[in-house]
């Protein structure tokens, strides 16, 4: 296996764990919960997507990104401008002459045909439906059973954490905008899928215990 393949393989193993609401570091704030959904979202492609709507300055792009996708975790200015510089270098955007005005950069960025093609390809590509959380939970359940610990207790704790997160997202959905509701639904359905797995595993613990001890 080449280094690149190994690196990609590692990424596929690790990246979903970071962007999955079910296994992200647990928190009591729903705002942070939603920001977790975007950890895996590619910033360059998102900025390209925003530029496809209309040419824009870095400041305005940051503002739009934070409003739509930031959710308590705003994009640093430095990241905005470095990303735009890379996109310009790669021919995906062009930067017009610097305009006079307040702020560190008054360049107006325009998406190129190549940039549009990249956005289209990104949107058309399905996100890998990987069984991320189950991998972690499965390992914990098996190890708990192997070491004689209570796997059911562990699953109960995980269930409680999941339900708490679902309650936070439900509150956000009830009192937020339609965009909030859409994002919260995404998290809720993922958490619900994990919970179904937890329920089924709870029901199969005896059989699983027999398998790991045989």
């Amino acid at each position: 296996m080449s280094c690149r393949t190994q690196a990609l393989s590692r990424y596929r193993m690790q990246a979903p764990i970071q962007r999955t609401p079910g296994v992200a570091p647990l928190t009591t704030t729903a705002t942070y919960t939603l920001s977790v959904l975007f950890v895996g979202m590619t910033v360059p492609l998102t900025l390209l997507g925003l530029l496809e709507r209309e040419p824009s300055h870095g400041y305005d792009l940051k503002r739009d990104y934070d409003t739509l996708f930031g959710r308590g975790k705003p994009l640093p200015f430095g990241q905005v401008y470095s990303t735009l510089a890379r996109l310009a270098r790669d021919g995906k955007v062009t930067a017009a002459e610097t305009e006079p005005g307040a702020g560190p950069d008054r360049k107006r960025y325009v998406i190129t045909e190549q940039g549009v093609t990249e956005v289209e390809a990104w949107l058309a590509e399905p996100v890998a439906p990987e069984p991320h959380l189950q991998t972690v939970l499965f390992a914990k359940v098996v190890l708990a059973l192997m070491s004689g610990r209570s796997a059911e207790h562990y699953l109960d704790l995980q269930r409680a954490a999941h339900l708490q997160r679902m309650r936070e997202l439900t509150e956000l959905k009830r009192h937020g905008t339609v965009v909030d509701a859409l994002l919260a639904d995404h998290g809720l359905f993922h958490l619900e899928a994990d919970l179904r797995w937890i329920e089924l595993t709870s029901a199969r613990l005896d059989a699983l215990a027999g398998a790991v001890h045989s």
Partner: protein, 225 residues
């Protein structure tokens, strides 16, 4: 805080088949409690015992400081009619009655004058987005509409406790969400305690707290994070 509804070590069997094997749970006034658990775990049986529909074989159930399980049948019937409300998976509306008469039914059964009962029922139609459906019969309502009518019927008498058994079980996700939103908002608005039986985590997420019924016993879900 004193529990409004309390079950201690409740047992119940259907013939030789035990359904509850020492279930213990307390519900505070104004609380929305989700009772979860796999099919056949005893969660609906627990709800029926808490609501005075079934009489436990053992243990004790207390409502507002008074033993409920030792009441006579007529007293339990009066309690259910006057202080409890019910919503089930399928609306179970009376097909011969109009939607408005269905909503007014608990008040009519409690002896409220028809005009007063119908006026009180009418108020719920606007509140639950059912305006214009007052004269329809259950067969002329969609699933979501029928369930909202059932919800209005469950809440019209301003019960102290609303028992909801899989209230969204027959609805699609979006309609179920609307019903849960209305149910919890209305219950909180009038301070009604809710005992919500569901196997759906998304529905349970509307509650303040969840417990799981497993093999006839209640396990509290405690979040340590």
């Amino acid at each position: 805080m004193t529990a409004l509804l309390d079950a201690q070590d409740v047992t119940f069997s259907f013939g030789a088949t035990p359904a509850l094997r020492g279930a213990t749970v307390s519900i505070e006034s104004g609380e929305i409690l989700a009772v979860m658990g796999p099919s056949g775990s005893g969660k609906s049986t627990l709800l029926h015992c808490l609501a005075g529909i079934l009489v436990p074989d053992g243990g004790a159930i207390t409502f507002a400081g008074e033993r409920l399980d030792t009441l006579r049948e007529a007293e339990r019937t009066a309690l259910r009619r006057d202080r409890f409300g019910f919503v089930f998976q399928f609306g179970q509306l009376v097909p011969e009655l109009t939607a408005q008469e269905n909503v007014a039914l608990p008040l009519l059964l409690a002896g409220t004058a028809r005009t007063t009962a119908m006026t009180a029922a009418q108020e719920w139609f606007g509140r639950l987005g059912l305006d214009g459906l007052e004269r329809r019969r259950s067969g002329e309502l969609s699933g979501g509409q029928a369930q909202r009518v059932a919800l209005a019927r469950g809440l019209v008498s301003r019960p102290q406790v609303l028992f909801a058994d899989e209230p969204t079980g027959a609805l699609d996700s979006l309609t179920g969400e609307q019903v849960m939103d209305l149910l919890t908002s209305a219950a909180r608005e009038q301070g009604t305690t809710v005992v919500l039986v569901t196997h759906e985590p998304r529905v349970a997420a509307y509650a303040d707290r969840e417990v799981i019924v497993r093999d006839g016993k209640v396990t509290p879900i405690v979040c340590v994070v």
